[in-house]
């Protein structure tokens, strides 16, 4: 195979042709600043308005509850810091989980330095938050629960509706990092009692550097980026019109074809999982077997290290990712893999293949095939495998 097989859609996705097409006029033609009075600007205003409507529709929100941001990380930071600072008088306790994205975890750690108290909930072996533990963690001074919708590494989908119910019952605000879920899963912020929800366009075939925060009407929150009156005084900065237009279109396309896309992705996912399990010994599927993102496959391959695996895959044209320390730029392997109870040496051997709309059965079979050889080769080099083989 000569062309690249891209199986890292959870890291980012290419911008869809239709999405880019909608964006293009807003760079050099309809470039007016929406805050201006003249006619050129009304084009920008209308475009943003339409995108806001598209995004709102995707998650069952009202148009005026969508605030565009510079990405998923900004949305997470804003939601958590914005609520924390604004509601400090009411309380200073935040509940989150140990498997959140760093945009949530590092924000919470930052707030701890500023005097906030944070509970990091454990998860079970599949990466599920336990509802009883969540409810038991709520205290008088709890102001926010932040639990991700679906995990970016192992794909596990949380019981968001139930978490929302618990939050509502205790009158605590509920934020969910839905960066991996928007465009992949049906979401209804009302049915699910979600008060704040983060999303990022580049995970759903939209452009990078733009995202949105859903904020339930009436929710009091401090701005993260103060300044001009954009986004109804809540998020300053000249609007990234092309990016916003792309976000709207991407969300619309994703939800227009969700069931069909997901049927296809789940079939590919199961084929890939089965292929690996059938062909390669000493593997472990990470994440929940059913409650997982349609395109997510995550395995640990014992006795070998993930970066070596990725490099080898890259040599044969396959793009994936790993929770190994060598790829995370830190000393430890992925906090998510450790939180589901994996020992370090196993976690180092993880591989995530996240499928997308362009992947095919043929590609899946090719990847299984290549992987079999690669894993074998790396194991033959590994002193750990050696010990197992030798019965030591």
């Amino acid at each position: 195979m000569d062309k690249m097989i891209y199986m890292d859609h959870s890291a980012t996705t290419p911008v869809k042709k239709e999405v880019l097409q909608e964006m293009l006029p807003y760079f050099s033609e309809f470039y007016g600043n929406p805050s201006s009075v003249y006619q050129l600007s009304s084009k920008s205003k209308l475009a943003i308005d339409k995108a806001r409507e598209q995004v709102a529709k995707g998650i069952g929100a009202k148009k005026n509850e969508i605030y565009f941001t510079g990405g998923g990380s900004e949305a997470d930071n804003w939601a958590i810091k914005g609520i924390a600072y604004r509601h400090r008088e009411k309380g200073n306790h935040i509940i989150t989980s140990k498997i959140e994205h760093h945009a949530v975890l590092h924000t919470c750690e930052y707030l701890q330095k500023q005097g906030f108290e944070v509970t990091y909930l454990d998860v079970d072996e599949y990466g599920m938050v336990r509802l009883e533990e969540l409810e038991a963690a709520i205290k008088e001074n709890t102001i926010l629960i932040s639990i991700m919708f679906a995990n970016n590494e192992i794909g596990t989908i949380q019981p968001i509706k139930e978490i929302g119910q618990i939050a509502r019952k205790h009158k605590v605000l509920f934020h969910t990092d839905a960066v991996q879920a928007v465009g992949s899963l049906r979401i209804d912020v009302n049915e699910m009692n979600i008060d704040l929800l983060s999303m990022s366009a580049h995970k759903l075939y939209g452009p990078k550097g733009v995202g949105a925060l859903y904020i339930r009407q009436g929710t009091r929150i401090d701005p993260l980026i103060a300044g001009g009156a954009q986004e109804r005084n809540k998020r300053a900065g000249t609007e990234n019109i092309a990016g916003i237009v792309g976000t709207g279109k991407a969300v619309e396309l994703a939800y227009d074809n969700l069931e069909e896309n997901n049927r296809k992705l789940i079939a590919l996912r199961e084929r890939l999982i089965k292929g690996i399990q059938d062909k390669i010994p000493h593997v472990r599927l990470n994440g929940h077997p059913e409650k997982r993102l349609p395109g997510n496959v995550n395995f640990c391959f014992q006795f070998i290290e993930g970066e070596a695996l990725l490099l080898s895959l890259d040599m044969v044209g396959v793009a994936g990712s790993s929770g190994s320390a060598c790829t995370s730029g830190s000393l430890d392997p992925s906090h998510v893999l450790l939180s589901i109870g994996l020992p370090h040496e196993i976690a180092h051997g993880s591989l995530r293949l996240s499928l997308g709309l362009a992947n095919t059965e043929e590609e899946v079979d090719y990847v299984v095939d290549q992987l079999t050889g690669i894993v074998d080769r790396l194991r033959m080099m590994s002193p750990l495998y050696d010990k197992i083989q030798g019965g030591i």
Partner: protein, 147 residues
């Protein structure tokens, strides 16, 4: 990210394997940190006549092992003792800063095998006493100038 040399030694590593009845065997690193290197030496008098390795680790760990074995094969014990991690990295046309510890590991794996040889054979090797095999502090954190 990696030089061509690194990729070449990663994809076609030299001297992979074991030596039965090796004269010296050393193992450094630990699985927790994600890299283990084991080196086997065959020694004849003053000369390393054969060397093999097994490595659990990332691309640069495997490439460093491969390069290190190449650099000491056929060399004297004294020459092997003089091999620095920098020499390994240089021979690979450089390693990214966060990967320099792999070359350190390779240097240590050799020294650890020499220690084993020294113990088994009773041959004293100059300089071995000073080697520090503590690996934990070798990993570099990503650049963060301020702290």
């Amino acid at each position: 990210m990696y030089s061509e040399k690194v990729m070449e030694h990663f994809t076609q590593p030299r001297n992979v394997g074991e030596i039965e009845n090796a004269d010296g065997v050393g193992e450094v690193g630990n699985a927790k940190c994600g890299d283990i290197m084991r080196m086997y030496l065959k020694i004849d008098g003053d000369v390393i006549t054969d060397v093999k390795f097994k490595t659990f680790g990332c691309g640069s760990a495997i490439a460093s092992s491969s390069m290190a074995t190449e650099l000491i094969k056929g060399k004297t014990l004294k020459e092997a003792m003089e091999l620095t991690n920098k020499a390994v990295a240089d021979a690979l046309d450089g390693l990214p800063p966060v990967k320099m510890h792999c070359s350190v590991l390779a240097e240590q794996a050799i020294k650890s095998a020499l220690v084993d040889y020294s113990k088994k054979s009773g041959v004293k090797i100059e300089g071995l006493e000073d080697v520090d095999f503590d690996d934990e502090h070798l990993h570099d954190l990503p650049e963060n100038e301020e702290e």
